[in-house]
């Protein structure tokens, strides 16, 4: 029996090799080229961490370094702290984001689009922005210091507050999608049976969004446990794993211990990722093609409550963003409240304005390199019918970064590219390597955007083109690319903003010449010059916002031209 199955398989392989023409070989070559590129960008750096963590002093593999970490009470405390902080943030942000998403999707409050934009603004800021605002609000000279009743914001609650701001839009985006798929027929059925609004909420709305809630919870937990910016600025003596990894590697040059901590951070991220992918699949299956779109009816009481929630959260978010921005224009808080641009001088900072221009370069290069790399990669995966194994590996690599925290990726880059035996180690500390790392770090979301756009195209385009003897690259250029242009603009915008705001991976990779704004915010803040840090953060936010608007204009223009 087995021989019957095996023979055709071998025949297939052999015959494929014989008949492969130029086009097929080109396609195979491209798939494998991308596999090699992503292996270099992702696979090898991650393996390098594993190697560092497992390689003992005597050159053998073992778990000795893990033992050291387990034995050091400081690190175990940091692990515990990380879990407590992540759980706390998840517990607070989920109901808030769910309420906000519900108010956006299930009420008729005026200006919902504006509230939505406000809620998404944290995406334009580095995670340090809220931390700086918190320092101005509740720090030792903070406006609202008296609220704390003698306590200090530096520590647990500071981190929680900052992470709330940073993770809120991520949770919101998932929950809005989960609530968008409401089936009006269910609500009609419930109403006809006399179910109250509360009963409808608990029996239809909440269960309908349960996968979204789980998914959002996992994403928030992972973001918090791997974030490094907020605890670095407002963590005080409250030690968490992410900061510990940084201290071990950068501070103490203890690469082995850093690698172990990196792996410890990778574990919850990978777990959350696997769970999240599973639930995402279920969520899709829950929506049937015949569902009727739900539109909220008139209900003044509900709308008042929804408005209260929307405006309350919006004010909080705007405060955490705005205080930092405003403070950057103030002479010397709280003693000299005169408006000034002095903090934008940056002359006392290593690199000065060059740091900001480095950021612009990094963001632009990330968009310019990342967009074609991701789009073509997604095209090979979705549309080419050759090199099945290669495409599987490529798909795996494309999804991998989602499960890898930036901090871990940065560590991997240190271990891999800074290794003396690596011929590429000249790249270490260069802006080029930082660009590559940022592309790899944000690869998954960009890939999913491109893949979704490609999946919407008729699968037979390539088949028709092949029957007309037109090679795939011509169809890619003449048909696929023009149709997918809006998705490409989306991907480019995403990469640009990621390049402007990212910190976690780059903190391990920059050199004095290649420092960028988001990283400089930390180093400036370390010197105690909070106002300059706020100014730098403001520059990042303004640039991201401006570029985001520009891209939206381009998209609107393209949509108009297509009519």
């Amino acid at each position: 029996m087995s021989s019957v199955v095996r023979r055709p398989l071998l025949a297939r392989l052999g015959a494929l090799g014989q008949a492969a023409d130029g086009e097929t070989r080109t396609a195979q070559g491209l798939v494998w080229l991308w596999v090699a590129l992503l292996a270099l960008l992702l696979g090898l750096p991650l393996l390098a961490i594993l190697g560092r963590a497992l390689l003992q002093g005597d050159g053998r593999l073992g778990f000795g370094h893990f033992g050291e970490v387990l034995d050091s009470p400081g690190l175990m405390q940091a692990t515990l702290n990380s879990f407590v902080v992540s759980l706390t943030v998840t517990t607070i942000v989920l109901p808030l984001a769910f309420g906000f998403a519900w108010a956006l999707m299930r009420s008729r409050v005026v200006g919902r689009a504006v509230f939505r934009q406000i809620a998404l603004t944290p995406l334009l800021a580095p995670s340090l922005m809220p931390a700086i605002s918190i320092v101005y609000l509740f720090g030792n000279q903070g406006m609202l210091k008296s609220w704390l009743d003698g306590g200090s914001i530096y520590g647990f609650w500071g981190i929680v507050l900052g992470e709330l701001f940073y993770t809120f839009p991520h949770a919101l985006l998932i929950l809005v999608t989960a609530l968008a798929s409401a089936d009006a027929r269910l609500f009609e059925a419930a109403r006809s049976m006399g179910a109250s609004a509360w009963r409808q909420f608990f029996t239809i709305t909440l269960p309908g969004a349960r996968y979204g809630l789980l998914s959002a919870g996992l994403v928030v937990f992972t973001l918090v446990i791997t974030d490094f910016g907020v605890p670095k600025v407002v963590g005080g003596n409250y030690n968490v794993l992410a900061v510990e990894a940084y201290k071990q590697v950068i501070g103490q040059q203890n690469f082995e211990r850093g690698a172990v901590v990196g792996l410890m951070l990778l574990l919850p991220a990978v777990l959350a990722f696997v769970l999240e992918r599973r639930t995402a699949r279920r969520q899709q299956a829950a929506i049937t093609a015949r569902a009727v779109q739900y539109t909220p009816g008139r209900d003044p009481l509900r709308d008042v409550a929804a408005f209260g929630l929307l405006s309350g959260v919006s004010v909080l978010l705007l405060a955490l963003l705005g205080v930092g921005i405003v403070a950057s224009f103030i002479g010397y808080w709280p003693y000299n409240l005169k408006l000034t641009l002095d903090h934008y001088d940056f002359s006392q900072i290593d690199g000065g304005w060059a740091v900001y221009f480095n950021s612009l370069k990094l963001a632009t290069a990330t968009a310019l390199l990342g967009t074609p790399l991701v789009f073509l990669g997604a095209y090979w995966v979705e549309k080419l019918k050759v090199a099945g194994v290669g495409r599987q590996v490529l798909r795996f690599f494309a999804m991998l970064p989602m499960a890898v925290p930036g901090l871990v990726l940065g560590l991997g880059y240190v271990f891999f590219f800074n290794h003396p035996a690596n011929p590429l180690n000249g790249l270490y500390g260069s802006l080029a390597l930082m660009v590559v790392c940022t592309v790899a770090h944000y690869y998954t979301t960009a890939h999913l955007t491109a893949a979704t756009a490609l999946k919407q195209l008729d699968n037979e385009f390539e088949a028709v083109a092949a029957s007309l003897k037109v090679p795939f690259w011509v169809t890619l250029r003449r048909v696929t690319l023009p149709i997918c242009l809006p998705a490409l603009v989306d991907v480019a915008r995403y990469f640009f903003i990621a390049g402007m705001t990212t910190v976690s991976a780059l903190i391990f990779l920059y050199s004095p010449d290649s420092s960028v704004s988001a990283v400089a915010i930390i180093t400036i803040d370390d010197t105690g010059n909070t106002a300059a840090a706020a100014a730098m953060a403001t520059m990042v936010v303004l640039t991201s916002a401006l570029v985001s608007v520009l891209f939206s204009l381009v998209e609107a223009w393209m949509a108009r031209r297509r009519r």
Partner: protein
Amino acid sequence: MKPADTILTASPYLAVHGLTRRYGAFTALDGVSLALRHGEFVCLLGPSGCGKTTLLRQIAGLDLPDDGRITLQDRDITRLPPAKRDYGIVFQSYALFPNLTVADNIAYGLTPRRERARHRERVRELLDMVGLPGSEDKYPSQLSGGQQQRVALARALATSPGLLLLDEPLSALDARVRDKLRDELKRLQKKLGVTTLMVTHDQAEALAIADRVVVMNNGRIEQVGTPAEIYRRPASRFVAEFVGEANWLPARRADAYSVTVGAHTLKLAGVPAGEACTLFVRPEDILVKPRWEAAPNTLLARIADVSFAGAMTRLQLLPEGMPGVMLIAEVCPSMLNRQPLVPGEIVPIELPAELLVAYPEERA
């Protein structure tokens, strides 16, 4: 082999030999063999999942078989990539490039690209041929479904391929447009003489358009024949059930040329071995007689219901002496030399011996 023989038994234009394709445990194609003559219009007909589309995709090179061979004009193309074969294809979804004009869509495969004037001329010719003159500068979204399908056909024919493959090309269209396009397609195919293989699940479409119909089921070919052969002499119970309407009567074998149904003995051309069998008769083959006369295969039946169905009238008949049997008959009122039929009436009917077919009882 003598030259004269070669001409007489001209080798097929397209042939598949023992083609097999498995997806995991599922066998989509199970050793299928088929030959198309030059210029022939052949329909692959069958229910969804029968393997007809899989077969088409193997021939198009969009999927590779596990076993078997495909030859085009005696050239083995089994493993060749699509571009190395010679065919045009039209899909159910049309697959027109939305960002290109009709002219650019049709000229997509014309080479070399720089000979614009020549392509323009060819596009005009093709648009005239499919009945859409002057549509060069329109975009696909500005056309109706039927028009889009015409453009897709023009694009497939632009490079004058030797073989035209059609994958359910009419299924997405309205009934009226579909019938019109079907007739045009057949006319065009005859005019161009391009060997054509069309996949469809619509038996009426297949019978109307094809020179030969290939009925498929469970990855195998059930029958290959002209539409009349398929309809009149279905080779298997599956074909008889899938193509057209039929009455099925449980019967017992009496001898080699007769069976018993209830209290009646019916004559027919041949009876398969085995005690039990099933009789097959088309509704339009049941004859309603003007008056009773004792003759073979003639019996009385009560009319249970009469329904008007346009050109034909449908009758539900309960034959006497056949408890539990209900026959559907279609009669043409203008041909019926008698008073209108009314429910409750008892009429003599004949089940003509030459039109009855007996199939062996299906084993469950």
